[in-house]
């Protein structure tokens, strides 16, 4: 079956609705949260009107948190579907965030406290204090729920082994090595850490998801660009996590100097699609898609998940702007069939209204671009 040109896809999390947050915090819903719930339900029809939880939420009560999490997933799913996306998920509604959510499923980690990210923003950081292990695969129930309810094709985002290792302290595998922990020793220990996370935690989880019918999995590696000299570890972790598995794997990287990752990153052999951020670097003065030339330089012909929405600004990209980005990217790649269309990254930092407007314009932009590249005259 030939896929349609420029299919659209989600790429990660969206902002938590107020009503979900307030229920999670065991607070009664305030007027704003109730209004938000009712407005979006009118728009997306994610919650059955006669559902007792819906009735309670629509009046500002404090219902069962588990059912509210289900409704949050349905909300995320319908949000993407009604915006018109072809590949969808639930906006990661059940996850704390991409690092802590995954690490808390694993053995061998200990959360040690907060590290400042910038200003008064912090994140909780864990140390790998023992061998990496896993009680049971994670995100499987989450996927099954999505699969049951999705109209579009589900695509599961999951944090990759390199990022999980890079955002943790490597205490156990480093401690196994004697003597001074020089750069070479640290790198060797980091390699072991990445591969063990991949083999002991990620691979069993990916396998379980695939066994349940998942066909498309996005391995998120936002840390890939932090240490460009470790791009080979990113690829090695990816390969270890996906070894012997049959599914469509994509790799999401963002806000990095992509050229620094070449050619090592190309060794991620089972990756079928590079799902990267580009719009953030696309300005009137600079073509953010020029970096795509690097794939031609290295002869890599895998698909591209093309970031066409800047997730850091509230400005709504117009459909024409999206179409222009797609057109420019297609010209650089020399093959429009390789392009999937998505936001640069998760839209969690944008309001639900802004993110939705961006997504609907993205879908319209892809439609315009499709008209520019019809089957007989793709250029």
């Amino acid at each position: 079956m030939t896929k349609k040109l420029f299919p659209t896809q989600e790429i990660g999390s969206i902002a938590r609705p107020l009503w979900q947050l307030q229920v999670q915090q065991s607070r009664p819903l305030n007027e704003r949260a109730v209004k938000e719930f009712n407005t979006w339900n009118e728009r997306l029809h994610f919650a059955p009107k006669d559902d007792p939880t819906t009735l309670i939420l629509s009046k500002g009560g404090g219902p069962d948190a588990g059912r509210v999490r289900d409704l949050s997933c349905l909300f995320g799913l319908r949000y993407f579907e009604s915006a018109g996306l072809d590949r969808v998920y639930d906006g990661e509604a059940r996850r704390v965030e991409m690092y802590e959510h995954a690490i808390r499923q694993m053995q061998g980690f200990e959360f040690l406290g907060h590290v400042r990210s910038f200003d008064n923003k912090y994140y909780r950081k864990a140390a790998g204090t023992g061998p990496v292990g896993l009680d049971h695969p994670y995100d499987v129930d989450e996927f099954e729920f999505v699969k049951t309810h999705a109209v579009g094709e589900p695509k599961v985002p999951i944090t990759g082994p390199y990022t999980l290792a890079d955002w943790s302290y490597n205490q156990h595998y480093l401690g196994k090595r004697s003597g001074w922990k020089s750069r070479a020793v640290r790198r060797d220990a980091q390699r072991e850490f990445v591969v063990e996370i991949a083999r002991q935690a990620l691979r069993p989880t990916l396998k379980a998801l695939i066994d349940k019918g998942c066909r498309v999995l996005q391995i998120d590696e936002p840390a890939a660009g932090t240490h460009p000299d470790e791009a080979d570890l990113v690829a090695e972790g990816f390969n270890a996590a996906t070894e012997g598995l049959d599914a469509e794997f994509t790799m999401h990287i963002c806000f990095s100097e992509y050229r620094d990752l070449f050619p090592a990153i190309l060794e991620a052999k089972r990756c079928r699609q590079w799902t990267w951020e580009f719009a953030n670097r696309d300005t009137p003065e600079r073509d953010g898609y020029a970096i795509l030339d690097v794939f031609r330089e290295y002869g890599d012909t895998r698909d591209i998940g093309l970031g066409v929405l800047d997730v850091h600004v509230d400005t709504i990209e117009t459909p024409e702007q999206v179409a222009d980005r797609i057109q420019r990217a297609a010209k650089r790649l020399g093959d429009p069939d390789r392009i999937w269309v998505n936001p640069d990254c998760g839209l969690r930092t944008r309001s639900l209204d802004v993110a939705y407007a961006k997504l609907t314009n993205m879908v319209q932009g892809a439609e315009i671009a499709r008209g520019m590249f019809d089957g007989s005259s793709r250029r």
Binding site: G113, F118, Y122, Y169, N170, K181, S182, R183, A223, T226
Partner: protein, 326 residues
Amino acid sequence: MDVATQLTGSFPRPESVVTATRDLDRGRTTPEATDAAFRKAEWEVAAIEQMLGLEPRTGGYLTWADIFRPISAGWGGFSVGPITRWFATNTFFRQPVLHHPPERKPGAIAAVLPAARGTAPASQAKVILPGPYTLACLLDNKSGETLEALAYRLGRLLADEVKDLHGLGYRTFQFQEPNLVVHPPAGPLAESVVTGYEAISSASHGSAVWIWTFFADAGPAWPLLARLPVSGVGIDLAETEPSSFRPLGAGQALGLGCVDPTTTLPEDPAEVVRLVLEAEKRVHPTHVMLGPGGPLDLLPWEPAQRKLEVLPAARKLLASHPERKA
């Protein structure tokens, strides 16, 4: 010869400050209550420094949003810019944006030093500032000045700052210069860095002036580091192999960053001693100072505190080591 031990950069914020600052941002507490949490934490850092024999004291620089903020928010010509990755870490700073030639505002930095908030008398406090080269490299330069001219100009302005702070009683200054090893300057740019530090050194009136390098191997920058007219040069041992150590300039002390802020694994004091002995043989410094390889705020509070214990332990071993006694 005894070795000195000092903190060499900002310390992590304790959980009490994390909570207070989050609450402040969400309107759940007052600026006064937040400041009280900061003051308590600054005193705790100073107490840790005293207990472990880390002198002069820093107070942890807990209130500083980032190393550049007192300048980007306090001096003329600057604005506080976008969130930017702090080298190869998962932490960030707000990039200073320089719109016009920089203009120092006397007193702007002095007002926000931990010592000015009561953590130590100025004479027993260590002033930690961004180095002129690193600042020049990392800011967004819209001023029209070349990097070379800017590095020199910032050196002159920081020299004026050192002069004022010396007048207030401060006697130890450290400049954070990761860029000297991450992107070592060469040619005329290197000369402008040297000239800038000449100005700083002469403004210090004999005070200790250190530069501290981290995040990269200091080996390639060694000839330049040895030329800088400063009291001491700090090297990050997590990045630099002792085999690349060379003699320093006459009168220069050697700082050895032997606490790696990127891992929670504590360092072995015996290993630190071995490296100090090797470094002394190769470098012939006037004396040695041990400290963290870089700012410890890449760690949470507790592990940072725990890891510092290697410093007095190594100092004690060195004090009784037969090779050093001889």
